[in-house]
């Protein structure tokens, strides 16, 4: 038996979890069939786009977007109680609606700008949990879902973590990176991982607000910190100026060579510290070109993240790859090519010789 396809995934999951044996088997089969159909639909759409055929966006809700309330619990209580799924009316709880709407906006960005279906490119369902812990001052990606605390614990303004579209897009982009370059989360590759999250975090926010590169504040999490601490989590254009004690370097002369160890002061070799350098390279390139950054340099960074970098890529590799992709996309010596090169020059990163494209890992050694 296959259950009626109009049954919402949440109901199917509940039946699969708690129903009678026959209901459970039927629910599981329905979920499997839905997954196969979705996979085919996405593959066909991608093939058509590759042939230059205009494909209308999938209907909203193809990637299920579900918000749970973990009600003050922590890891063992995730995801929590389901409070909003597709087709449900808005909740009375602002955090629920913000997590839902901002996840939807982020997935819409990836679909409409980059023809990418959700986090994994294959329509992965979105799961968000709100109200994690008590006055918890953090938002994070578990590898499978987004989790948001309420803030108000001394670092974040209460409610700011779900209110900030760029913070939510930052977390979801950690998922995109996980399914693509899978940049190792330490030292320079980790700082690139963080930087790609900030780059797409700000691009999602800029596009949603119709903000061009010249008028953007290039701040991540503007207004999210307690005002006594500062104005934002990071400044992409002026790293090191977002809050009191912000120690992000603005170029390689101030690079922080921290050990990769378990000391919380060292931030896995400075992943949230040195990310200021590639962040600024992007912002400088975008500002040089003007216009909408999601239409100019954004696609270059997207191609590099999803196709060109190996997991242990360094800043110089990212520089070489973005310069090469800008030349491929816009022409050798084009304004865009020069602007991307100029961005890396500004932060004093010399590109790896060649195009930086580390595709050797996908090639088999020549046996001869």
């Amino acid at each position: 038996m296959v259950l009626c396809a109009i049954a919402p995934p949440s109901l199917l999951l509940r039946l699969a979890d708690a129903g009678s044996r026959s209901a459970r088997e039927a629910a599981l089969e329905t979920i499997r069939v839905s997954e196969r159909l979705r996979g085919r639909r996405i593959a066909v759409a991608r093939a058509l786009r590759e042939q230059g055929v205009a494909v209308p966006p999938d209907r909203p809700g193809v990637t299920a977007n579900t918000v749970f309330d973990v009600e003050g619990g922590e890891e063992s209580a995730l995801p929590g109680r389901q409070v909003r799924g597709d087709g449900d009316p808005p909740s009375a709880d602002a955090a629920v609606n913000e997590a839902y709407d901002h996840a939807a906006a982020t997935v819409a960005f990836y679909r409409e700008v980059h023809a990418r279906e959700s986090i994994d490119g294959r329509g992965l369902d979105l799961v968000s949990s709100v109200h994690f812990g008590q006055r918890y001052d953090n938002a994070f990606w578990t590898g499978e879902q987004m989790v948001y605390g309420d803030g108000g614990g001394g670092t974040f303004v209460a409610g700011a973590l779900t209110r900030s579209l760029d913070v939510i897009a930052h977390e979801l982009t950690h998922g995109v990176t996980q399914y693509t370059a899978n940049l190792v989360y330490e030292a320079q590759s980790g700082a690139l991982n963080e930087s790609f999250s900030d780059v797409f975090g700000i691009l999602v926010k800029q596009r949603a607000g119709g903000i061009d590169a010249a008028s953007s504040d290039w701040l991540i999490g503007a207004g999210a910190l307690e005002p006594s601490l500062g104005t934002a989590l990071r400044s992409m254009l002026a790293p090191g100026t977002a809050y009191s004690g912000d120690d992000q370097p603005a170029d390689m002369d101030s690079y922080r060579d921290l050990p990769v160890d378990d000391d919380p002061r060292n931030d896995s070799g400075g992943v949230h510290i040195n990310s200021g350098i590639p962040n600024r390279a992007f912002a400088e390139a975008a500002r040089t070109l003007g216009g909408n950054a999601w239409e100019t340099v954004g696609p270059v960074w997207y191609t590099v993240l999803t196709e060109r970098l190996r997991a242990n890529a360094q800043f110089a590799d990212a520089a070489a790859a973005t310069i090469a992709v800008a030349a491929e996309r816009y022409g050798d010596g084009s304004r865009e090519h020069d602007a991307v090169r100029g961005g890396w020059d500004a932060v004093k990163v010399a590109p790896t010789p060649g195009d930086g494209a580390q595709r050797s890992s996908t090639r088999r050694p020549d046996p001869r």
Binding site: N138, E144, V167, L233, P264
Partner: protein
């Protein structure tokens, strides 16, 4: 007894150090703190629990005892040794805890 919690990472990437010293606590609160510390393991859990987690917190907890001895442990969010989660929450909520931002 003094308990020092260094918290790093998170989406903000900030370091916050919180210190609670028993000399600043009344007798009842001191007893609470001692009981919580007595219930804590200082042995790291083995094996990666959530290797794909991004922007999680990392912690260093140090307990300096009155006899001059010291115990400490480091762990990432979600892998707190036994009893440590409760101690972290108590320290976070303690009105006489001193919080200092900075690496």
């Amino acid at each position: 007894m003094r308990v020092t919690v260094v918290r790093g990472g998170g989406v903000a990437g900030m370091v916050v150090t919180t210190t609670v010293d028993a000399v600043d606590l009344d007798a009842a609160r001191t007893d609470e703190l001692r009981a919580l510390v007595a219930g804590c393991s200082f042995r790291e859990r083995s094996g990666p629990v959530a290797p794909a987690m991004r922007d999680g917190f990392t912690y260093e907890v140090t307990v300096d005892d009155d006899d001059g001895s010291s115990r400490g442990v480091r762990f990432v969010q979600g892998t707190a040794p036994e009893g440590m989660g409760e101690l972290l929450r108590w320290v976070d909520e303690c009105p006489s805890g001193r919080r200092e931002p900075g690496r």
